[in-house]
């Protein structure tokens, strides 16, 4: 991969490469600690570095073209003024330049275009090249959180906005409860999809963006070269909570990753065992767990008070579903309501979590239905 980049840079005109490199160097120097505030974040993977170099090159082409245009216009404005007594040259359009400009200028622009397209095509090819990956992560966007699934390692968790931060905090809207943890110097493949509407998983330093389209899978790749924490957020309008689904990627050493992986696997195995155990859960236990699940997964729409947002998201407090028939309630939460923002939660929460949150909804905010759902009830309708 490193060789690929080197060849590509070599193909670009030398002066452009050197300008690009010096700008890149300056940017890194100036923002050694801070992320750049006025430019793309410092890239940390071969592909994003390549894209960054391309960005620097096209920016310079843009700047140079703008300088040329500005010089011509400003020179004309200063020189060819009636107030300075300049006599208009009525035959200028009949000069050799006037006769041939229609061909000369497009040729010149075509030359610039070909240079840009040629340089871009090599990067584009690299993006469509799909070598084997060491780790494959399925990234699922849902209104409004991300679900990460380590396809080969049985790890799966949701990543929600950290709601405790205020606009004064540095990481406001850029922090999550469970970051995606990845090892450095490892080929990672992301498979992007969504459960409800379009989303877009964008962490500019780590990977370029492709849309998460419900029903389809798109692919991006990365190989993070530096340990660190990289942040981004959903880049495709996904409705009410679009601004509130950030992404955090924690790149750790391979050793730390192995430790983290074992911990996670143990944790999820324990949770799965707990959820599938034939235990009858008490009201208090379910209410406590249900409250936690509700506050993580449901409040964005239905609100802490269970009153929803009138006209947009229905209330649960006193709603016909939450205080009505248990089977309907379970069906609604497990399978969602098609054509609305109500998601099917069966793939996002386990049986115990589902049972707990349904119990919570039936008994919180003066609903006081008094009945409770057990994990077995959920299992039965899966």
């Amino acid at each position: 991969m490193k060789k690929l980049i080197a060849t590509k840079l070599f193909k670009t005109p030398l002066w452009l490469t050197s300008i690009a490199a010096s700008t890149l160097g300056f940017a890194q120097l100036a923002f050694a600690q801070e992320e750049p505030k006025y430019n793309l974040p410092t890239p940390v993977s071969p592909l994003t570095k390549d894209i960054y170099a391309l960005h620097v090159m096209t920016s310079w082409v843009a700047l140079i073209l703008m300088v040329i245009v500005t010089i011509i216009v400003v020179y004309s404005l200063v020189k060819f003024r009636k107030s300075k007594g300049y006599e208009p040259d009525q035959n200028f359009h009949k000069s050799w330049f006037g006769r041939w400009a229609w061909a000369l200028v497009p040729l010149l622009v075509l030359g610039i275009d070909m240079a840009i397209a040629g340089r871009a095509a090599s990067t584009l090819k690299a993006l469509y090249n799909h070598p084997d990956a060491d780790i494959t992560i399925k990234v699922t966007g849902s209104q409004w959180k991300w679900t990460y699934e380590y396809m080969d390692d049985d790890i799966r968790f949701n990543s929600n906005l950290n709601k405790d931060l205020t606009p004064e905090d540095k990481q406001y809207l850029r922090d999550v409860d469970n970051p995606l943890v990845l090892p450095v110097d490892t080929n990672v493949r992301f498979l992007h999809t969504a459960t409800d509407v379009l989303h877009n998983w964008w962490v500019p330093a780590v990977a370029y963006k492709v849309d998460s389209v419900p029903g389809f899978i798109n692919e991006t790749r990365t190989r993070i070269e530096e340990i660190g924490t990289y942040r981004g957020q959903c880049a495709e309008n996904c409705g009410t909570g679009h601004a509130f689904m950030p992404i955090v990627v924690k790149a750790v050493s391979k050793e730390d990753y192995a430790v983290w992986k074992t911990e996670q696997q143990a944790k999820s195995a324990a949770a799965a065992a707990e959820a599938s155990a034939d235990k009858e859960w008490s009201m208090d236990e379910l209410m406590a767990r249900g409250k936690a699940v509700y506050e993580k997964s449901c409040v964005a729409c239905h609100q802490m008070t269970g009153e929803g947002i009138p006209g947009v998201f229905p209330a649960l407090k006193g709603s016909p579903v939450a205080v009505g028939d248990m089977a309907t309630h379970i069906g609604t939460v497990v399978n969602g309501v098609s054509g609305t923002a109500m998601a099917a939660w069966k793939n996002q929460l386990n049986d115990l979590e589902l049972a707990a949150v349904i119990t919570y909804e039936r008994n919180a905010w003066d609903n006081d239905k008094g009945d409770l759902a057990q994990p077995a009830d959920i299992k039965a309708v899966r």
């Binding site: 060819f80 359009h93 397209a117 409800d196 964008w202």
Partner: protein
């Protein structure tokens, strides 16, 4: 052309009195005026929405607007500005000026002309109703929060307002297809005897391309939103993967319309520019034929470049390369047009009345939109820029100088012709500087916080983007208020002012060889009732 004779005839065929003059009008000048007034009203409505958007983005945190209301403003601001402001204003200019330029007594289809205008207020009413749908029809879902692109599945989730928007698009689409047919037919059939196609004023050429583009693209968009309506209500699954459909299909239909639509907004202003710059440079347009050729190439490439708005949807390598290359090639006709404008100024004798000031600023700022456009055309880099404020900055640079400033320039250029009064030049210049400076301070910083990672259509953001957002907002308020001055200048000009001559500007007859400068200012109610004779019109 004998001006007095025209005057006397006009007295015999004066307009009907009262509301009937406007409601039943088949007169191209009255309909043109109504189009322009409608556009002005919509500009203030859409502008007020932009002010709300900038007020919310003034600082991090949720201050004024709920997220859904915010994105509803984003949606309606765009729809109103595109369909309610720029397109009607350009159609108004066409109505007023094209018959005068080509020496036609009126539009070819005057009653159709009446219909195509009066559909607009209906469409606008539907659009405004869409914002009140959650109140009018409680329990049918929330506000439309999709952005003007109306992408499913989000637009399938939206409330009843979506139906109103779909029908708005149908009505406005019918209106612009009818207007386009009318304009194209007028240009092809109603020219004064002896006026050849390649002798027409550039504004007429620009509208010929615009009209043809609209006739090609509007039906596709209407079809797309109708499929959306069917998905919402009749159980079809055009855009639902669960039923065998594809959400991305809508994006292709939308952008097949949406990309040429950019040129629909742009071309009339390019036509205006091609007349203003020679007028105030006192030197013929550089490259009359090559400008027409450039517009033709732009027309063709514009129809096959649409998917560059969707590089991120996961297209295969082949089509992605195609759309990248075609998009980069668009720089050729655009570069040629800009060169023609610069070379028209070159070795001219320029004066800087308000229309010319706008024209020069367009050449500079539209070039800037062009070069950021090349950056965006490059697929790998776009995979970083896509859906960030960088894109917002780019298309506001393309559409405000490219289209809106062209309309401002046209208004100042032709107001004396329409009203018979010169506008207040000093106020015009104040308006120009106020408008252009605050525009730049609003949108230039957006490139940078876009690159730094602020996405579009977010109601709230990380404090890292706070400083520049505050700057953008303050400048945006100033930009918004500046348009009140524009309104004041127009009203003042209508009410009186130094009388304008037939030619209005010293260089008018250099700027165009059309017939609009042979009629008095203001023109009588009916012009060219007998076909005018042409002096040799050679560029």
């Amino acid at each position: 052309m004998n001006a007095t004779a025209v005057h006397e005839e006009a007295h015999h065929h004066g307009p009907p009195k009262g509301y009937k003059r406007w409601l039943f009008s088949t007169n191209h000048k009255d309909i043109g005026t109504m189009y322009l007034i409608f556009a002005l009203v919509m500009m203030f409505l859409g502008g007020a929405m932009a002010m709300l958007i900038r007020a919310e983005l003034y600082m991090p945190g949720l201050q004024f607007l709920e997220p859904d209301f915010y994105n509803n403003m984003v949606t309606n601001h765009a729809l109103i500005m595109v369909f309610g402001m720029v397109m009607p204003a350009a159609a108004g200019l066409a109505n007023w000026m094209i018959p005068l330029m080509i020496g036609a007594p009126d539009m070819a289809l005057p009653r159709l002309n009446n219909l195509s205008f009066w559909l607009l207020p209906m469409g606008a009413t539907m659009l405004i109703l869409s914002m009140f749908a959650p109140v009018l029809f409680p329990g049918t879902g929330g506000l439309v929060n999709t952005g003007w692109t109306l992408y499913p599945p989000l637009s399938i989730q939206a409330g009843m307002g979506m139906e109103f928007l779909i029908f708005t698009i149908h009505i406005l689409g019918i209106s612009s297809i009818l207007a386009s047919i009318n304009i194209v037919v007028t240009i092809l059939n109603m020219r004064a005897p002896g006026m050849k196609l390649f002798e027409m004023p550039m504004f007429v050429w620009a509208w010929l391309f615009t009209g043809l583009l609209l006739i090609i693209i509007m039906p596709v968009f209407a079809g797309g939103v109708t499929m959306l309506l069917f998905d919402r209500h009749f159980g079809t699954s055009f855009f639902d993967a669960a039923g065998g459909g594809d959400p991305v299909l809508f994006q292709h239909l939308f952008w097949f319309f949406g990309h040429p639509e950019v040129y629909v907004l742009l071309l009339p202003s390019i036509g205006v520019l091609a007349m203003i710059i020679p007028t105030f440079s006192r030197k013929p347009l550089f490259g009359y034929n090559s400008l027409i050729g450039g517009m033709g190439v732009l027309f063709t490439l514009g129809l096959v470049a649409w998917a560059h708005h969707q590089y991120t949807v996961g297209m295969a390598y082949g089509p992605t390369s195609w759309f990248m290359v075609i998009t980069i090639l668009i720089s050729i006709p655009v570069g040629l047009m800009l060169l023609n404008f610069m070379m028209t100024m070159w070795r001219g004798a320029m004066t800087f009345e308000t229309p010319m000031l706008f024209a020069v600023s367009i050449v500079l700022m539209f070039s800037f939109a062009g070069v950021t456009g090349i950056m965006l055309a490059v697929v790998p880099a776009d995979l970083q820029y896509h859906d960030t404020m960088f894109v917002v900055a780019h298309f506001h640079y393309a559409l405000i100088p490219g289209a809106v400033f062209g309309l401002f320039a046209a208004a100042f250029y032709w107001l004396p012709k329409w009203t018979g009064n010169m506008y207040d030049e000093k106020l015009g210049k104040i308006f120009f500087w106020w408008n252009v400076i605050s525009f730049n301070v609003t949108f230039f910083p957006q490139h940078f916080y876009g690159l730094a990672g602020m996405p579009r259509r977010v109601v709230d953001y990380n404090p890292a983007f706070a400083d520049l957002n505050m700057l953008s907002s303050i400048a945006a308020f100033s930009y918004g208020i500046s348009h009140l001055l524009f309104l004041y200048i127009i009203i003042k000009t209508i009410r009186g002012g130094e009388p304008a001559t037939e030619e209005v500007w010293e260089g008018s007859r250099i700027g165009t060889h059309g017939l609009e400068w042979t009629v008095p200012s203001p023109p009588p109610y009916h012009t060219f009732e007998t076909a005018p004779s042409l002096k040799p019109l050679k560029y």
